[in-house]
Structures are given as structure tokens and as C-alpha cells.
């Protein structure tokens, strides 16, 4: 077991974890934050994307111990305290940018830094930003629509 101190969605957790425990499993199994999904466990689908110190990271490719001393942000942090949707979440809903919902948390976390940069986005920007996030349901275009529109709001 290895001690790890990680701040997740603003709360610092001091834990002892096996060195091989993946960050995704720490979030899901140890902290109960099951919004982060695992789709491939090898970094190819993007479903497990979270923010580590503000940057999108595949939590299935990072060990929990590598998150020691760092700040992790997950999908659970996006909506307001009383449940009101983050503007990006609301935009995805409005544009029908999700169907089964399984890729959605990773998609949201991949897009969040781009959107929070405050720049108006072009369609190609968004396509590139989510090119590593697989969705089998939507065909992506409604996600692109939602993000472009939200970036210009």
C-alpha cells in the first residue's frame, strides 16, 4: 500500500492504495464517483477522461499514486450544488448530444478546458478536441453543434 493525497472536486483525500490501482478505479471504487466511466482501459476511447490540474487525462492510463498532490476534477463537479446543469451540460441536452450517456462524462471533461478558455470555437476545433473520445450513438455532430454554440454564447 502506498499513501496518496489527492484533491478531488475540491475535497482532499488521504488514502493508502495499492501501487497498481488506476486513478479511474480510485475515483469509482474508493471514492464512489462512478460518473467517470471505463470504456477500454487502454486510453483509446476517452470515456474515463477527467481533469488533472486542469488538463484532460485518461484516468485509466494513470495510477492513483501519480495523482498524489494533484487536483482532480470529475463530471460530478460540473453541475451546481442544487443540481442545475453546467452550461455545457445544458447545451448537450438541448442539442441531443447524448444518447446512451456512457461516453458523456468523458466527453464533457475533454471539452470543459476548451470551453472554459473562453474562445469562440470553430467546428474543427471541437472535432479535434473530441477526436480521442469515442461515441457509438450520436455520430458526434450534435455534440459539435452544442459546443460551438455554447462557446459563442
Amino acid at each position: 500500500m502506498t499513501p496518496v493525497s489527492v484533491t478531488v472536486n475540491g475535497t482532499t483525500h488521504e488514502l493508502d492504495v495499492p501501487p497498481r490501482l488506476l486513478l479511474a478505479d480510485l475515483l469509482r471504487d474508493e471514492l464512489g464517483l462512478t460518473g467517470t466511466k471505463i470504456g477500454c482501459a487502454m486510453g483509446a476511447c476517452g470515456a474515463c477522461t477527467v481533469l488533472v490540474d486542469g488538463e484532460p487525462v485518461r484516468s485509466c492510463l494513470m495510477f492513483a499514486v501519480q495523482a498524489d498532490g494533484r487536483a482532480v476534477r470529475t463530471v460530478e463537479d460540473l453541475a451546481g450544488a442544487s443540481g442545475e446543469l453546467h452550461p455545457l451540460q445544458a447545451a448537450l441536452r438541448e442539442h441531443h448530444g447524448l444518447q446512451c450517456g456512457y461516453c458523456t462524462p468523458g466527453m464533457l471533461m475533454a471539452i470543459t478546458p476548451l470551453l472554459e478558455s473562453g474562445q469562440p470555437l470553430e467546428r474543427e476545433d471541437v472535432r479535434e478536441a473530441i477526436a480521442g473520445n469515442l461515441c457509438r450513438c450520436t455520430g458526434y455532430e450534435t455534440i459539435v453543434d452544442a459546443v460551438v454554440e455554447e462557446s459563442r454564447r
Binding site: G39, L98, G101, C103, N133
Partner: protein, 770 residues
């Protein structure tokens, strides 16, 4: 029988209502099977065959038992009392191969499970699986895959409708084409999974399961593990996609269930992606040929088809039958063939068993037919669209050469509108100019029809596709309405769609309707969600059950308001006198009176405000449309850039156009994958080569063009409220549009291709060979 469109007002149905299921999914609150954690739960991992065909010499489980965290290990002998799975499909002459949960004598494909390890967490379970020592003796190629399937062909059917041979003898032109439709994987983002929990006090087995068919899964599990159906409860919390791949009882599920019963502890197995790609829900592989006899005017006199599906190591599952049967039956499409003969069947191989996959069979038949029609037009020197016009049936009802009765559709209207939208004539001018510059532009057009809501009468075509459903509608003491459905939404937004329909029936808001699915303890029996059926069956069952409850509410209203039935309405959560807002009673009070007011109860006789009703459409519903695509092929690399994809879709009356468009977009994206990217590869020795998502290419955001959509609404004659159902047509028709477009682009070079996907290297090689 009533029509929901006739209810007071159509306030909600037809609207682009934002989905009720979205907030949970967007915030990460929605639970999937993989998110279910129970106290004392063990995780399961499998030891799998690394050989495509081998005799099992020995499986030494002992080393696994010594691994820290491992609690139990199951081998073949431990699950010998589990019944082999043989599905419910009955076809005369089919040779069914029973599939044992953990085979003890031999393995037939790479990835076949041979032992199961249960541990405190998945990490330890995989350690345990790695420690199991499996000794396999490879078997030679001459060893039959199954002793009782000589030659490997487990099913064959051939039939001729009309005098096909005479038509071919008289024909002035005969065109032929073969197509190898590749093996693919269904690849929902959520893989398969189960959490099995046995209650030793009640003897009930609860399984949280990722399945499209909760009630059929319950029956299948019950039979395999030897429990009465009523002792099993299937709960599907939420499901991250299915696409046909979650219609199967996997041996892994049976292991989990048996282990939970034996060990008295909850057991979870979540398929990882490499398991899913190696041994999970594959789909679609077929070798097909089609030939057409035509006269000088380009009229089709007859067609002949041949389909052989390689469905993998076992012929027990439904996936082993639907691909080649639906393929052969859907060749006529929207054309008057005159006469048609097919020869179809399936063979086993040392590959993972295939399951149904969206657009089952249709993808191959549609692609082959449309590409062949383009060939015919080129052979006759006729415009490709003009050749289609000469053979396409007129809008309206149609009886195919196979005897299938299409309800009225906008076959030609959708086709012509798609040509207008893509501006076919202008494209030909641009294409000719581009060719002068050495650029390869192409256009492909794919008109489709899709049998969606198939009831008992629809099974007559040869596949036992008969189906029917029930739904329950109830009103509680708070005046809220609950709808319980045996279908199971896994991305299709059924909760929203059903709530829209029910809201209109009861004069309430969709948010006041709770829709329950995915739980056999809380929903009535039905077939589940597959084959574009759910909209038709939800509308049909909910309308009938809702009408029975409405009738009760209005009866109470008559008593309480002392008004005649024809003067009453359900509006804004009340029963009221039409046009008199002061004389309205909230539904909660109506429900309360039915249960607790003696005079009301006495008049009603039975105060139950719950009804379950059955629906089986008299004939299948048929949606239709046309996909048109333009592409540019890079003459150097063979790369295909999609320029435009236009979809004209007619699924009858739409309940939520936004959801319909979502199904179109997602279907087209899967079609892009099938046409250009996706390909599951085994090497010559039977070893899988595409076992990660780095090797198996799914469409990404950067692969997708914008999709332009236009709707036509030709109300159904067979589906309640004019609803036809949809979701597979665009998926199965897109590869044809893209294949026609690519082949059009390279046709001037005399090049052609007879396999999917149309990969850059294949295209470049075809161009270079000329």
C-alpha cells in the same frame, strides 16, 4: 382501440422535447451495471482459450487458489450442471450446437472461456486467471468444428419466387456482383456485464444485467441454471448502448449466476474491452452474390442471390440465423423484381460467435443490390438514377415478390427529394469537370425500406420474428402516472417518448409521468428492444392500457362532478368539465375517491387504477427513406473524403423528431464505419488481430461529415398513432450510398472492389491495377 392523436390535444407528442433521462447521464448520476457495488461482492475474471481449435488436455486451477485475494475458482466440472444454451429460434433443418458454459473437452475459438476466477477485486481475479495453467493440444484443420455438423454448414435454405430461370434465359443483359461483408464488432461504449446476487432467505436470484431483453434474459437464465423464471429478477439499471449485441445469454453470465448461488456472495463480471473485442459481440460477416436479369429498357426481370454467413464457433444463438436470413429476404427492397430466387445459409468457423448487429442482414443485401444496380446502369449506358426509377415501386402499398406486404410509404417521393437535396444533376456536371482535372468525385444513392414493428403476423416470411408486448399504466394516490414497459431503452430515449404519449392521454406534463423499464419485477412480460420495434410497441401497448385507466378516471369524474362522459376532459392534471375551469378535480383527488370514497368505490366495483394491455400489430410497419452521399477519392492514397450525406427519412408520425434525428445520425455514423473503417481481422491461423480499439477503427468525430436530414411523415396503417418505428434503416443504407459513391468515383478507371470496408489501400490497389 383508440388513437392517441384523438385525445383532447396533442400537446406533447410531436415535440422536440428535451430528454427526461439526460440530467442523470450528464451529471454522472445515472447508474450502469458496472456502477453497481454490493456488500461482500466478488469480481469475476475468465481464463480464455488462446487457441482457435484445440483439445483441452488439462486445466490446473490450483495455482490460482493460492493467489492473494482469490476466493474461488470454477472449472468445467464445477458448472457441468448448467444447461447448455440453445436459443428460442426454431428453423426447420437448423443444426443447433449446444454451447456449454465452460467446455471441458475442447475449445473452438480464441477467447472461449475455460475457467472462472472469483476474487475480492478485479485485479486479484486477473492475477488468479493468469495463474491457471491451461494445456491445449491444437487440432488440425481437418478436425470438424462440431462432429454433428458435417462440412460446417448448419443451415441452408433455397427458394424461387416466380420463374427465375426463364427470366434469366430471356434477359438481354445479366449483371453479377459478389460482396464480402466484413466481420465487425457491435462495440457499445459500455461492454457487457452482470452483478448476480442470490438471496438465500427467499431463494431469489437478482441479476443486474446489461441486456436489451430483460424478460427473455430472465427466461434464458432460468432455464440454464435450473430455477423457475419467477425466482429470477433482472434489473437493468441503465445501459450504455447495445446495437443488437446485448441480446445474448453469455456463458460468462451463467458462471456469475452459478457462482453467486454457490458462494452465497454477490458476483460481478464486467467485460473488459479486450474481452469484448476478442470474444464478445461480433457481427455481420457474410459472403454474398447477386445477379440481375434485365431487358433492353433496364427493367429488372429477375434476381438471384446467394448468402453464406460465417457466424463463428456455435450455431446456437439468434445471431447465427438472422444475418443470412434477413439478408436474403431484404434483397427486393423497393424494387419490382418480377422473380427472385435465393440460396442462403450459415457455416460455423473458429471465430467468436456473432450476435445481431443493427441493420442485421440488411446492410449486406442493401449494399449488394444498390451497387449491382449501378453496375447494370453502366452496362446499359443508362443513368443510374433513371434505372432505379424504371424499377422502383410507386408510393403506396406494395406486395413484394416474396409476398411481404409493405404498408404505404413515400418510396419514390423520398428518393426524388434526396436527389433534389444533393442536387444530383449539378453534381454530375461538377464531377465531369473534376475528372478533367484528374480528381475522382463520386455520388451514391441508396433508397431503403425497413420493416420495424414486426408482430406475430410478420414472422411468416421465414424467420420466427413474431413478437408482442404488454405495458402497464397506473395512477397513484398523488395523481402521478406510472408506465411500465417490457422494452428497454439503452440510449433511444424511451422514457421521454413514452412520457410524451402518456402526457397527452392524461392531460399532464411529461415530467409527471414515471416510465419504468429494465426491471422484470416492475414491468409486464415482453420481448425487449431490438429491430426498431420499440416505438411501435410502446405506442400500441401504452395506448391500450392508458385507455383503460382513462376510462376509470372519467367514470369517477362522472360520479364526482355529476356530469356526462362527453362533457368531461382530462386537462392540466385534473378531470374537469370541458370549458369550465371552476369544475375540475385534481387527479390525486380522483384516485383518492376511487380508493376511499365508499359511494365511488361502490359504483366502480373495482377501484383498481392500474391496467395492463397487450398489443400485437396486425401487420408489420414499414419506414423508408433515401441516403445520398458524395465523396472524393484521393487517386494517390485511395483515401475517401465524404463531402455530403443527405438523409430523407419517413418513419410515419414522429413522437419526438429530435430523437428520430438522433437515431438517423447515429445510424449513419455506424454506416460510415462499416463502409470505410471497421474490419475485424483473424489471421490465417485463427488468431484475432484487432483486439484493441487502436486496431479496430471506430468512427471518430474527425471522420464524420455534417448530415443533412429531412422528414416525410406517411402515417402508419398498422402502428398505433401512425407510428412506424425506425433506427436501422439509415445504418443499413449508408454503406450502400458510400460504396456506390466510391465505386462511381473510381469507375472511369475501370476499377471496382468487392469487399467492405472500402479501405484506402484497397482503393489505391484497385486504381493501380488498371
Amino acid at each position: 382501440m383508440t388513437d392517441w392523436q384523438a385525445h383532447a390535444e396533442r400537446r406533447w407528442a410531436g415535440k422536440r422535447l428535451q430528454r427526461l433521462e439526460d440530467p442523470g447521464m450528464l451529471t454522472g448520476a445515472t447508474r450502469y451495471v458496472t456502477d453497481v457495488r454490493l456488500p461482500r461482492m466478488l469480481e469475476l475474471a475468465f481464463v480464455r482459450s488462446h487457441a482457435p481449435s484445440a483439445r483441452i488436455v488439462s486445466v490446473d486451477l490450483k495455482p490460482a487458489r493460492a493467489v492473494p485475494g482469490v476466493r474461488a475458482v470454477l472449472g468445467s466440472a464445477d458448472v457441468a450442471d448448467v444447461q447448455p444454451t440453445v436459443d428460442i429460434v426454431h428453423l426447420d433443418g437448423a443444426l443447433k450446437t449446444p454451447r456449454f458454459t465452460l467446455p471441458g473437452d475442447r475449445v473452438r475459438y480464441v477467447g472461449e472461456p475455460v475457467a472462472a476466477v472469483l476474487a475480492d477485486d478485479r485485479y486479484a481475479a486477473e492475477d488468479g486467471a493468469d495463474a491457471v495453467i491451461v494445456e491445449l493440444e491444437p487440432l488440425g484443420e481437418d478436425e470438424p468444428i462440431h462432429d454433428d455438423i458435417p462440412g460446417g454448414r448448419y443451415f441452408h435454405q433455397a427458394a424461387a419466387h416466380g420463374d427465375v430461370d426463364a427470366a434469366f434465359r430471356q434477359a438481354r443483359h445479366v449483371v453479377r456482383r459478389r460482396l464480402h461483408a466484413q466481420r465487425v464488432v457491435t462495440a457499445p461504449l459500455e461492454t457487457c456485464g452482470i452483478v448476480a446476487d442470490y438471496d438465500t432467505a427467499t431463494g431469489e436470484l437478482t441479476c443486474y444485467l446489461s441486456t436489451q431483453q430483460p424478460h427473455l434474459a430472465r427466461a434464458g437464465l432460468a432455464e440454464a441454471v435450473g430455477l423457475p423464471v419467477s425466482d429470477i429478477r433482472i434489473i437493468c439499471p441503465a445501459m450504455g448502448g447495445g446495437f443488437g449485441g446485448k441480446e445474448v445469454i453469455l456463458p460468462e453470465y451463467l458462471c456469475a449466476a452459478v457462482a453467486a448461488i454457490r458462494l452465497r456472495r454477490p458476483v460481478r463480471w464486467v467485460e473488459d474491452r479486450s474481452e469484448a473485442l476478442t470474444a464478445g459481440a461480433h457481427g455481420k460477416e457474410a459472403e454474398a452474390e447477386l445477379e440481375a436479369a434485365l431487358d433492353d429498357d433496364g427493367r429488372i426481370l429477375a434476381m438471384r442471390s446467394r448468402f453464406v454467413s460465417d457466424t463463428g464457433a456455435y450455431s446456437s444463438g439468434i445471431g447465427a440465423y438472422v444475418e443470412f436470413m434477413v439478408g436474403a429476404f431484404t434483397v427486393p427492397g423497393l424494387y419490382d423484381l418480377g422473380a427472385y430466387a435465393y440460396d442462403t445459409g450459415g457455416v460455423v468457423s473458429h471465430k467468436a460467435p456473432i450476435s445481431p448487429f443493427r441493420g442485421v442482414g440488411m446492410t449486406t443485401s442493401q449494399t449488394l443490390r444498390e451497387v449491382l444496380l449501378d453496375d447494370a446502369a453502366r452496362a446499359l449506358g443508362t443513368d443510374r438514377m433513371e434505372l432505379r426509377r424504371r424499377n422502383m415501386v410507386a408510393d403506396g402499398p406494395w406486395r413484394t415478390v416474396l409476398g411481404e406486404e409493405y404498408e404505404p410509404g413515400s418510396w419514390r417521393t423520398a428518393f426524388e427529394r434526396a436527389l433534389e437535396l444533393i442536387d444530383y444533376d449539378a453534381f454530375l456536371v461538377r464531377q465531369a469537370a473534376a475528372r478533367g482535372e484528374g480528381r475522382l468525385l463520386g455520388i451514391g444513392v441508396s433508397p431503403f425500406v425497413e420493416a420495424a414493428g414486426i408482430g406475430s403476423a410478420g414472422g411468416a416470411g421465414g424467420l420466427p420474428g413474431g413478437s408482442h408486448d404488454n405495458a402497464t399504466v397506473a395512477i397513484d394516490l398523488s395523481g402521478h402516472i406510472t408506465v411500465a414497459l417490457p422494452t428497454f431503452s439503452h440510449g433511444q430515449g424511451h422514457r421521454t417518448t413514452a412520457a410524451q404519449l402518456v402526457a397527452d392521454m392524461f392531460g399532464v406534463a411529461p415530467e409527471d409521468v414515471r416510465v419504468i423499464d429494465g426491471d422484470t419485477a416492475r414491468t409486464p412480460f415482453g420481448m425487449g428492444t431490438f429491430g426498431s420495434r420499440s416505438a411501435v410497441f410502446i405506442a400500441g401497448t401504452v395506448d391500450r392500457a392508458g385507455e383503460l385507466v382513462r376510462d376509470k378516471l372519467l367514470r369517477v369524474g362522472e360520479i364526482l362532478l355529476e356530469a356526462a362522459r362527453e362533457d368531461l376532459e382530462l386537462v392540466d392534471g385534473t378531470v374537469g368539465v370541458r370549458g369550465v375551469p371552476s369544475r375540475r378535480i385534481p387527479l390525486a383527488s380522483v384516485a383518492g375517491a376511487a380508493h376511499f370514497a365508499p359511494h365511488v368505490r361502490a359504483e366502480l366495483g373495482d377501484p383498481t387504477l392500474t391496467a395492463t394491455a397487450f398489443f400485437d400489430p396486425p401487420r408489420p410497419t414499414h419506414s423508408n427513406g433515401t441516403i445520398a452521399a458524395t465523396v472524393e477519392v484521393d487517386p494517390g492514397t485511395g483515401g475517401v473524403a465524404i463531402d455530403r450525406i443527405v438523409v430523407v427519412e419517413d418513419c410515419g408520425t414522429m413522437v419526438n423528431p429530435m430523437i428520430v434525428e438522433g437515431q438517423i445520425r447515429g445510424g449513419v455514423a455506424q454506416g460510415v464505419g462499416l463502409a470505410l473503417l471497421e474490419r475485424y481481422v483473424y489471421d490465417e491461423s485463427g488468431q484475432p488481430q484487432t483486439t484493441t480499439l487502436a486496431e479496430y477503427l471506430l468512427p471518430r468525430a474527425t471522420d464524420m461529415p455534417r448530415i443533412e436530414i429531412e422528414h416525410i411523415e406517411t402515417p402508419s396503417e398498422n402502428g398505433t398513432g401512425g407510428i412506424k418505428g425506425m433506427a436501422e434503416g439509415p445504418a443499413s443504407a449508408t454503406p450502400a450510398a458510400l460504396a456506390c459513391a466510391v465505386l462511381d468515383a473510381i469507375a472511369p478507371h475501370g476499377a471496382s472492389i468487392e469487399e467492405l470496408p472500402l479501405r484506402p489501400e484497397t482503393i489505391a490497389a484497385a486504381l493501380a491495377s488498371r
